[in-house]
Amino acid sequence: MTMIATDKPMISINRRRVLQIIAAGSAATLMDGGSLMAKSMERKSQGYGPDIDMNNPEVTWDKILTQAQLKTLTIVGDIIIPADETSPAASAFNIADFINEWVSAPYPTQQADKDIIVGGLLWLDQQAKQQQTRYFRNLSEDHQATIFDRLAQSVENEEVEVNQKEFFERLIYLFVGGFYTTPEGMADIGYIGNVPMAKFEGPSAEIRQKLGV
């Protein structure tokens, strides 16, 4: 097997910085985090192990996000992947629930993402405070979009704290990765493989001509 990384994302993670962001949150916003800790004491956190029944894939760990965190994540998901004329929004396929599965997994990459996502959700609530509202999820859609757009703009212009940049990039990674690996998401971008065929014909004559090949 070739171990060259053909599909690894080029995103780095700084766990300590994200933990700092959680520590910087107010007592009120830490309530979600507090309940997270309580739940994590009793949750099942075993991985699926090295030798699995491939034909019956199973998630072997409990999901840890609270309903409030999931609600915020769902709102953010539909800002990132809204419905358009080709496909529905992220919430149509419960991508926030997939991200809950992801951040709850007992593996190092996912554990690091848990810190980034949970910390980032707290950060969104901090932004909501500036609108005199306690939680991001209670803001008007316009206000939510404004906060998210400000974050995106600052990432685009590279005028952003590392913490927020990581939060934004991980959100995009997880929602894009979650959405476009569903059958409908794959159809949206034009993945038409994974179907058995008697012969592999290669590209059509028309396309060959267009490309000069």
Binding site: M1, D51, D188, N194, G202
Partner: protein
């Protein structure tokens, strides 16, 4: 004593172990096969069509499944309870498949032949050393293996200097190239680089009870139809049908047992992993095909009073001169592929077409290449195979700060236009890549573990730089935009700082014409212990740019022919 003495024990069930078991049992020899992992059936245990969204974490890699959820491998580079320690250098990633069929359950099925120059590097260039055999010696075995496992490849007319092909009467016809490969081939042609169908052990026509490929799904999941060759369906099941093969699974071999005079091997000791018990099993002939590094480990761990440095090691070369295919890659965005209708680029999963090393036989000056061996080059579109989170992230991260409807348009527009352009390269004979036994660390079975020193050479670094130069030339000729280029960090470091790449390790028990400078004779038979053979990647002398598995099988076939002959002559 009443102990049961078998005819032949083979340790390992992968490409080499499966091959010898197949050949020996067909010839009427009884074989006991020991496998360190469990029994495994590719027909029933693979999930070829499972979607990412039907698996945990969208099927992404985890420490439990290091090749991704659906990857066939049980095991990987890190196995709990079975560590190895890192000595000097940039390290090596030791991939182990603990299952019947070993690594053939997930391999890329690429089967290029080593060429005439590859066996005679010293004679031709004054570098490295020669093998004790020539291409003419091994070619009949390549033919037999190709016919047995079923390969597609290029027409005979496309053979190149030091890049031979399977004879037309044996090979199957290759599938049409994928669209991105055609764009790559065109650019190569304009640069004077020849491309051809890639030699591959995947059936395009049925063979025995194995079906033809249906051009979908990832071969590393395993192949329940048998189209992609693996040792279980291709070698072991036919061997079982002869009634002359017994398999003991979950048997972790710790050492080879010797007679009192320390002249002949009498059997092996193994841990029955189901009970933890240590057991001995006896035979007239022992074949180690445990995988390159495991075979050296077993021999070094078989040391005794008369062979304190390890068994079959009078040369002191066991564990030395390890090698692994090197690799370089660029991630590209290819504007020529924008605005085309959707394409199915799955095909046989790995590439249909590639560029063999194009400077073989050229002088150093003409090649501009101050290193031995070369590299092969090919391309793979990210749309080939199911979308993964990593491939999708490559596309979404083309532009910073993107979200919303613009993000969705972006994904639609750029999907199918990104690709990995890559080389697999030779490595030079290197005394700084070796395996010894760690005096302090044992695995969970109480077996001392290997310590691996692996310092890639300056020549390997030079070859990597040459690869990147070529990759950039080809990318430019394709009109592609380079979006990720690891050579920037490589040049900054000024040397190779990571494991070299492909997990194609060879060497450690090299064959030779002289017992003082080799572990095995030209038949892969130990100089010191005549009834001990090696049939995996360990007998390799040098490591050219071609994937090694076909040569592992050809050498294993040749070794087992020698065993059959000697058993008949009663000379073992």
């Amino acid at each position: 004593m009443g102990k049961n003495i078998h005819e032949v024990i083979v340790v390992g069930s992968g490409a080499g172990g499966g091959m010898v078991a197949h050949n020996l049992t067909q010839a009427g020899v009884n074989v006991v096969m020991l496998e360190a992992g469990r029994k495994y059936n590719p027909r029933t245990e693979t999930n070829m069509f499972g979607l990412p969204s039907q698996s945990p974490l969208r099927g992404e890699r985890t420490p439990d499944k290091q090749g991704g959820f659906y990857d066939a491998t049980i095991g990987g580079g890190e196995i709990p309870g079975e560590p190895y320690t890192k000595g000097d250098g940039n390290g090596q990633y030791w991939w182990r498949a603990r299952m019947l069929g070993g690594r053939t359950n997930h391999w890329g099925r690429k089967t290029p032949r080593y060429g005439p120059d590859d066996f005679k590097t010293y004679t031709n260039t004054g570098r490295e050393i020669d093998w004790p055999i020539s291409y003419e010696d091994i070619a009949p075995y390549y033919d037999r293996v190709d016919a047995l496992i079923g390969v597609f490849g290029a027409n005979e007319t496309e053979a190149q200097h030091n890049a031979p092909v399977t004879p037309n009467h044996i090979r199957q016809s290759p599938p049409e190239p994928k669209i991105t490969e055609l764009v790559f081939a065109k650019a190569c042609g304009e640069l004077g680089i020849k491309t051809r169908a890639a030699e591959t052990a995947i059936l395009t026509k049925p063979l025995g009870d194995r079906a033809a490929c249906f051009y979908a799904t990832d071969c590393s999941r395993g192949c329940s139809t048998g189209a992609g060759f693996d040792s279980v369906l291709g070698f072991i099941n036919p061997a079982l049908k002869t009634g002359r093969l017994d398999i003991i699974a979950d048997a972790m071999v710790s050492k080879v047992l010797m007679d009192k005079q320390n002249k002949k091997a009498i059997g092996v000791r193994y841990i029955d992993k189901t009970t933890g018990d240590s057991k001995d099993i006896f035979a007239r002939v022992i074949i180690l095909a445990a995988s390159t590094m495991a075979t050296s480990r077993i021999l070094l761990n078989s040391n005794n009073k008369k062979s304190p440095r390890g068994l079959a090691n009078s040369s002191g070369l066991v564990g030395k001169y390890l090698a692994d295919t090197s690799g370089a890659f660029l991630i590209l965005q290819i504007p020529a592929l924008e605005n085309l209708p959707a394409q199915n680029e799955d095909g046989v999963y790995e590439h249909h077409l590639y560029a063999p090393w194009w400077l073989h036989g050229k002088s150093k000056e003409k090649a501009g290449a101050d290193f031995s061996g070369g590299y092969q080059t090919t391309i793979k579109n990210h749309r080939s195979g199911l979308p993964t989170m990593g491939k999708l992230a490559t596309i979404s991260s083309l532009k910073k700060g993107l979200y919303g409807k613009r993000l969705k348009q972006h994904m639609r527009y750029y999907y199918g236009t990104t690709a990995i352009l890559y080389c697999l390269g030779a490595v030079s004979l290197n005394e700084n890549c070796k395996l010894t036994i760690d005096p302090k660390v044992k695995d969970q079975w109480g077996i001392p573990v290997p310590k691996v020193d692996w310092t890639s050479s300056h020549e390997d670094y030079q070859r990597l730089l040459h690869m990147y130069e070529s990759l950039h030339k080809i990318a430019q000729q394709m009109g592609a935009i380079v979006i990720s280029d690891p050579s920037v960090a490589l040049k900054q470091a000024g040397k190779i700082t990571d494991p070299v790449g492909a997990v194609h390790e060879t060497g450690g028990c090299r064959m030779g014409a002289n017992p003082k400078t080799s572990v095995l004779n030209p038949w892969s038979q130990s100089w010191d212990v005549p009834n001990l053979y090696v049939a995996d990647g360990a007998p390799f002398v040098t490591h050219p740019e071609k994937n090694p598995t076909l040569t592992i099988m050809a050498l294993a076939l040749r070794a087992s022919d020698n065993i059959i002959k000697r058993l008949k002559e009663n000379s073992l």
